[in-house]
Amino acid sequence: MMHIDDEVLALLRHLDHPTPEVRAATIIAVARERPLHWVRWAATIVLALAVAGGAYALPGSPLRSWIQKLTHKAPPAPQGHNAAVPGIAVTPGLDFVVHFTRPQPTAQIDVVLTEGAEVEVHAVTGTAGFRAGTDTLIVDNWDSRATFDVRIPRAAPRVQVVVGDRRIWPRE
């Protein structure tokens, strides 16, 4: 490794000023201080929020009407049937079966013919598990108090609804 020779070092020393006497403790004390600009920012934000809050609270405040205009949302459009109800929709094949896995003697299952293209099953009350297989829609109706709504496309070639081992649609 190359070192600076003494002549160059001696010349460079001519540029030197006395080294300030700084203590490490001073550095640590300053480093622990919260930087002033952050304090200023925080104060500015708090002040701005306070002014905005005051303006909003004033009776007949244009700020309030402006914010309400900005945040106002139109009421949600009416949703389709059972949109919020858990369920499943499947496009049926030529021979399609909706199979409720348990006999469910106390349950209510309503079957409705629709103009739609999909077979839909919704748990109107209670809960159930749904899964779709090839030409099959399986409903695990473990909740004996659940009621279901089965919607079958009028144009579907053949759709059966079976509860346990009993076919309820078309009626046997």
Binding site: H3, I4, L15, H17, P18, V22, T26, I27
Partner: protein
Amino acid sequence: MALFHEHFERIYRYLDRLTGEAALAADLAQEAFIRLYRRGALPDAPAAWLISVAMNLLRNAKSTERRRRRLLTPARSEQARADPAPAPDQGMADEDTRRRVRAALDGVPERERRLLLLCAEGYSYREMAAALHLNEASVGVLLARAKRAFRDTYEDTHDAH
């Protein structure tokens, strides 16, 4: 603490020689240590880290012309006052040498000047390369060029007298 004692003076002296502004050098050297403290963890190569930060601070200070005087210590001015005043002739000769050294240093290209001053403070090739974003293998060549340029320029100013 040990790190401060080991590195503060060399960073200050490097910045002082580079800028010719003792107060600025003192402030920036202190600021570099403040940054190190606030960082929380020690960097892998503290010497290279500190000098890199100091150089970044210098660049910022130069570009914005905003100089921090936060930690100007009374001790510095007291010490400066306490230095014995040189005899008039000696003072003039020193001032002349100082001017010529400054002119010689200013005549060295920026990158080589920084290398020369870092080398004078005993930084390793690796630390210099890290601080100046250079390939470590090229440090030696650049340093040799820097020394030659400094000497040549200094001798030119000597001949001119």
